[in-house]
Symmetry: C2
């Protein structure tokens, strides 16, 4: 039996099988004791044990936006795998969930086994670091759907939380609570359509003021904030809420963690906006206000803490900083106030 007719239609089953072989070892390296089935089963099996009293599954699915385009242009696939996993883990971390397992989908016009293996290798690396099992995945060859040479990735994470410990805790938030920002490693996975337009004609190997090349700064993988959150909680500090600064920037994401009667007052000069974002604003002509709606501008996660917990938190996390506080919000006030200073 041959599969030549199928291959002529643009689908290469053997190339798919080769890619699967290359990925198997990386995927197995993520397996925890809860994983029951091996790579290649219909569905991934994850045994639930040591459940808290009122277990809640927290799940999220996402892609990494057009950062994939930049990755395929430069042949750097691994970081995109890390991006995808860490983005999803951070999305459920804000509800105080710990990741159990991850599933990935990689699709392109034509399967390049090495590229798929690199991408999944990056996912496995990020999963291992977060003790998250990579229990399922699909690679799809879609001639005519994807632009030639382009690929896309999507992934879903499932985590576990205890119902009584879910965040945000609107009942304990109050005016005067502080907003602590945790540094991002770069744009993470936001704003890449704008970024790709902004960098047209720029030399990707130019060195920025912080010593990174432009391409390295653009492709730096998304940070996972699980270690920071666990450090604070292990020290007994009560995080009241968290905002993952993703699409929609500060403007859309910080209010999602707040109750109706409180607003966030963010003082932009509290931190130095990294050179990459300053260049992107200049090259794209995006206003500083608009930039707060598109980019994370150097802060990838915002935590809400009682004012008394700010100093111990900063001691535990040397690269964290206070970037604002909660204030009372009247019926016609915006949910977020930006105080723009001279930091850009």
């Amino acid at each position: 039996m041959t599969t030549n007719a199928y291959r002529d239609a643009g689908v290469d089953i053997d190339a798919g099988n080769r890619a699967v072989q290359l990925m198997k070892e990386a995927v197995r390296s993520t397996f925890t004791a809860n994983v029951l089935a091996d790579v290649g089963s219909f569905g991934g099996l994850f045994a639930l044990d040591n459940l808290p009293p009122q277990p809640v599954l927290v799940a999220s699915i996402d892609g990494v936006g057009t950062k994939v385009k930049l990755a395929s242009q430069t042949g750097r696939w691994r970081g995109v795998g890390i991006d995808l996993v860490n983005h999803c883990i951070d999305d459920i971390l804000v509800q105080n969930a710990r990741p159990l397992f991850f599933l990935d989908y990689v699709a392109s016009s034509r399967l390049q086994p090495q590229a798929v293996a690199e991408t999944v290798g990056g996912m496995a690396e990020a999963c291992r670091a977060a003790r998250c099992a990579l229990i399922g995945g699909e690679t799809a060859e879609m001639p005519g759907v994807y632009a030639e040479g382009a690929f896309d990735v999507a992934g879903a994470v499932v985590g576990l939380a205890e119902r009584s410990r879910l965040l945000p805790r609107h009942d304990v938030m109050a005016a005067g609570d502080v907003l602590v920002g945790l540094r991002s490693s770069g744009p993470h996975t936001n704003g890449y359509s704008l970024i790709r337009r902004a960098i047209e004609g720029q030399d990707l190997l130019q060195v920025l003021a912080d010593g990174q090349t432009l391409v390295d700064a653009l492709l730096a993988p998304h940070r996972c904030y699980l270690p920071e959150v666990e450090t604070l909680q292990a020290a007994g500090l009560a995080i009241k809420g968290m905002a993952h600064i993703t699409g929609g920037g500060f403007i859309e994401n910080v209010p999602r963690t707040l109750p109706q009667h409180l607003a966030a007052r963010i003082v932009a000069r509290s931190w130095e906006i990294p050179p990459l974002f300053q260049l992107l604003m200049r090259w794209s002509g995006v206003s500083r206000e608009e930039a707060f709606r598109v980019f994370n501008l150097g802060i990838g996660m915002v935590l809400v803490l009682a004012a008394a917990d700010a100093a111990p938190a900063l001691d535990l996390l040397p690269d964290a900083m206070v970037i604002g506080r909660l204030i009372e919000r009247g019926p016609v006030d915006p949910a977020i106030q930006l105080i723009l200073g001279d930091n850009a």
Copy 2:
């Protein structure tokens, strides 16, 4: 604040928000009592209750292949949403899992709110029918990644099984067990790259021998086999294993449910291959043997039952049929034997 610079780069945040609005009602209609958060939270929340003694989560992620291309060419989005959900549910059903919740990812070069809403509406319809909550989704606009006008969908399902009832049950399978086939509604989600090439130049509105138009036959949504499986199990019939006939057809999928010492003997003349598949084989020049590796040829799910359970199963499911049986397999025998007759 305006988002004009962002829109100029090919991303329309407002169009995204409109699409979200259109989908909200459909998504909410799938919510079961276990769903804790409303549409728009960071992650979807699903409370676990009434857990069996040894709960196992079973998860799968997938797309629908280049069937999306045919859907966008004809503007028929709803069926693709149904395809995606039912395909994923069937993938975990073979391990005896019942779906808890679903997450979707819809991406295109440019967001068409109506198309996205139709697609998600189809997903919600299929989720409601299977009592599966649609607790999360992402719509992504990816100019430059997708071909102009093209879109792709991926989705992940998470289901629950009891460890002692997981399938397949290799320990109880034996030579003489029967293979019961459940009808497919069409090609489901397999082989569409080959199909799209095969139908080039064909009139999509031509009427097939079974009275369907070609386009209706090609786009018939994937069947969900949950009701059939529940009917058999409620009647006390023990399903020993199941194979979902997806990519790789009978050849790759039936062996996945069998132990090393047993092979499947499938008698092709046991059922009538539907007119669509006969035309596709003729138009594409795919051999009959190869067709068993690409298409489901009219059988979307294969169940392994004790021989004594075959008659009661066929009584309960009028459109099911015995399509073969298990035989002993020696060390050099193939895992599947096809007996090709005169039925095509």
